[in-house]
């Protein structure tokens, strides 16, 4: 295996040419190319590549454009493709190592440009006495950053790599650096890596006034709505709308569950507005889910039916296009903007000395304890009543209650010991997964059935309708499967260990 590349940062004012001249006094070298190039970093909006220790950079010059995937921890090149332009989604890249590496990480997320750095790039070969290249150097000369040198080792010539690294450090006094200038490039834009995550991280203090804390929570959620809004309208990828909807749903749960902290007229007005937002975003999200599940649907069919279901994809795509168009119009409407702005203004208003709502002046910790304990009791009660004969509605109601509990735990997690609350959230998540699957499969089953009726009117070939019938059967079997796992997952959630943690954290009367 070849050694990993080494990186150095040249001191300010040391140009590439001066550096090469200095180095040439020590070793035999040759500049093989000099070109103006633009380095563009790419990642998904939620930093999936960065989180997986990957850096994706596209070096575009007049003669060659290369996309590199680099291991962020050691600078090793993982995959490289010569490409003219960058596609948005992993499946649009040519088959090969690059696609194989990014696909499981990016999934459905689009690859978006993060930052651009124009630079002059020098490629230098270092020779041994036989004029054999034993090391390659890439020197990038930036306008606003210190220049960088990358030492690219060649297999079998590791000694030359070490020798030149020593010359740089000990003779030329040049410092090693990390493998990427991504952080510096982002800093120029006032950004930093991982500056977006769909996970909630709200820092509350236990003695904070409840109305102040709830405003802080809503502000975080509003920010998530605003951050995802433009790309939801542009339909950049499905997850902008997903995150937008989660923030809307969390706001709705907050308005109904963090009770009596804000004035009732504000709550009722905005509860209506956010319910409307949930409703108008629903159809597009549902269709996104069907399209994202399409490959899974196809795989679930016997081999002989797989091609027959193709018209369903076209049908879903047409529906999604229309739903997306309708949604975009609504999110660009004055009505939406006016209401969201009013909500923002209200959240930014300073608080009255004494809150008017019933629980406004309580500490947030007191309120959080009460609310979480109450909703937890509801989950136990509703879950305990469910038997194999219970109607589907009972499971759906329980799913909604669990969601409320989950949001409350997430809103208030900073008020409780991190390990314990994280464990409870994890346990709840496992239980929610079964309820979610049950609901999703049921809705999908009903929708595919309804679509097949609609498609029948459009003279869809009968073999497609037959394949859809088989798909409905599959979804039904998956729904039953989820239902069969309910008792086991509920049992895990209500096990003594979790019960005692819930009691200790939220109902500790001692």
């Amino acid at each position: 295996m070849t050694a990993t590349p080494l990186y150095f940062e040249l001191p300010a004012n040391l140009t590439a040419k001066k550096f090469i001249a200095k180095l040439n006094k020590q070793i035999d070298l040759q500049i093989t190319a000099q070109q103006y190039s633009i380095k563009t970093f790419y990642d998904s909006f939620d930093w999936r590549l960065y989180n997986a220790n990957r850096i994706c950079e596209f070096n575009h010059s007049q003669h060659v454009s290369q996309l590199n995937l680099i291991d962020r921890t050691n600078g090793q090149l993982i995959a490289s493709e010569k490409l003219e332009h960058i596609s948005s989604f992993s499946q649009q890249f040519p088959a090969g190592l690059f696609r194989d590496n990014i696909s499981p990480v990016l999934e459905m997320r689009a690859l978006l440009p993060l930052s651009q750095l124009p630079h002059e790039s020098y490629l230098v070969n270092i020779f041994n006495k036989d004029k054999k290249t034993v090391l390659r150097l890439v020197i990038d000369e930036y306008e606003f950053l210190n220049n960088r040198v990358q030492l690219i080792p060649l297999k079998g010539y590791e000694k030359a790599h070490i020798k030149v690294a020593n010359i740089l450090q000990n003779t030329l006094n040049i410092k090693p650096s990390i493998c990427t200038v991504l952080n510096e490039a982002l800093k120029q834009q006032g950004r930093k890596p991982k500056d977006y995550s769909s996970k909630l991280s709200i820092k509350l203090k236990p003695d904070m006034r409840a109305d102040k804390a709830s405003k802080l929570i809503y502000k975080h959620l509003l920010q998530a709505i605003q951050i995802n809004e433009a790309d939801t309208i542009a339909d950049t990828d499905t997850e902008f709308l997903h995150d937008f909807r989660v923030a809307v749903r969390r706001t709705r749960a907050g308005l109904s569950q963090i009770k009596n902290t804000l004035p009732s007229d504000i709550v009722s007005k905005n509860a209506e507005f956010f319910a409307w937002l949930g409703q108008i975003t629903g159809p597009t999200r549902d269709l996104d889910v069907y399209l994202l599940s399409y490959q899974h649907y196809k795989q679930s069919l016997p081999l002989t039916l797989r091609d027959d279901i193709e018209p369903l994809y076209t049908f879903l795509k047409q529906k999604q296009d229309q739903a997306q168009k309708d949604l975009s119009e609504k999110l660009k409407s004055p009505n939406y903007n006016k209401k969201l702005l009013a909500w923002e203004q209200y959240l930014n208003e300073s608080l009255p000395k004494k809150g008017k709502a019933g629980h406004a002046n309580q500490t947030i910790k007191e309120l959080a304890d009460i609310r979480i304990w109450k909703v937890y009791q509801r989950v136990l009660k509703e879950g305990g009543k469910i038997t194999a004969q219970s109607p589907a509605e009972a499971l759906h109601d329980l799913r909604k209650t669990c969601k409320k509990l989950r949001y409350l735990l997430e809103f208030f997690q900073s008020l409780y010991p991190q390990n314990q609350i994280k464990n409870l959230i994890k346990a709840l998540k496992g239980f929610q997964a079964v309820l979610g699957d049950f609901q999703d499969y049921e809705i999908q089953e009903l929708s595919i059935k309804a679509f097949s009726e609609e498609m029948m009117q459009n003279q869809t070939p009968s073999k497609t309708l037959l394949a859809m019938g088989v798909l409905v059967q599959y979804l039904d079997s998956m729904k039953c499967n989820a239902r069969n796992h309910f008792a086991e997952q509920f049992g895990l959630f209500v096990q003594a260990k979790n019960k005692s943690t819930f009691k200790q954290l939220f109902n500790n009367k001692a």
Binding site: D130, K131, T133, K155, Y157
Partner: protein, 247 residues
């Protein structure tokens, strides 16, 4: 991974320049390529400016004491690596003879390189020996340059007979004309006659040309110092024929 040996019982027929130039073209086509210089003379190592030296020599290499990967050297060309020759390779036959199942030895040594390389060229020394048997066992394609002379016809027939007698069914023999001098009537006549008698001979003909001889001076594959010439085109055409067989 495809293993291609450039081989002929006779020496001086253009085996090394074939291995080096085709490997260069394969690498240019984005195939991860390795040349293993098995000839103790180390001509392909010389062409790539790599010292003909292998740590531990033939003994440790054949014993598997060192992984091949650790002995490989990058060439000056992207996607193209070299496993250099060593003077001790003159004893490869003897070293192989000491092993159990000697003819399967090379194949076994190459196995771990499957993931890393798409194509491996074995640049072989002349003669039929235990080493060549091991090379035949490890290779899928046996690329055999033949100079258009009557003697070459004999060696080609000997080679065919050997492959048949030893039931090397996995091995595809690919003879082609090398060092062909169109100015010589004898060369032209033999090419014509042989091509008729042996339809398995590839269409591409590598000319006898001074730009190929210059490789020794330039110490790099033809494509490294020359973009367009009759020889460049001839190797490109030969590579295209092989590529068609690989697809």
């Amino acid at each position: 991974m495809t293993v291609i040996a450039t081989y002929n019982i006779k020496g001086g027929v253009g085996k090394t320049s074939t291995a080096v130039n085709l490997a260069f073209l394969a690498a240019q086509n984005n195939y991860k390529t390795l040349v293993w210089d098995l000839d103790p003379q180390g001509a392909s190592s010389y062409y790539f400016r790599v010292k003909p030296k292998v740590k531990g020599g033939s003994k440790e290499l054949i014993a598997g004491a060192r992984e091949l990967d650790g002995l490989i050297k990058a060439t000056d060309f992207e996607n193209l690596d070299l496993l250099p020759a060593d003077f001790s390779f003159r004893n490869l036959d003897l070293v192989l003879d000491e092993r159990k199942k000697p003819t399967r030895r090379l194949k076994k040594l190459l196995a771990p390189l499957t993931k890393e390389y798409d194509i491996i060229f074995l640049d072989c020394p002349p003669n039929i020996s235990l080493l060549s048997e091991a090379i035949f066992e490890a290779s899928e394609l046996l690329l055999s340059p033949i100079i258009p002379t009557t003697l070459s016809l004999r060696t080609l027939e000997q080679l065919k007979k050997y492959i048949k007698d030893n039931k090397l069914k996995h091995l595809q023999l690919l003879p082609f004309f090398s060092m062909a001098d169109r100015r010589k009537k004898m060369h032209r006549d033999i090419i014509e006659t042989l091509a008729e008698q042996h339809p398995d001979i590839l269409q591409s003909i590598i000319p006898y040309a001074s730009d190929i001889e210059r490789m020794g001076w330039e110490r790099m594959p033809l494509g490294g110092y020359m973009k367009k010439s009759r020889s460049v085109e001839a190797y490109q055409s030969l590579w295209n024929e092989i590529l068609d067989l690989l697809k």
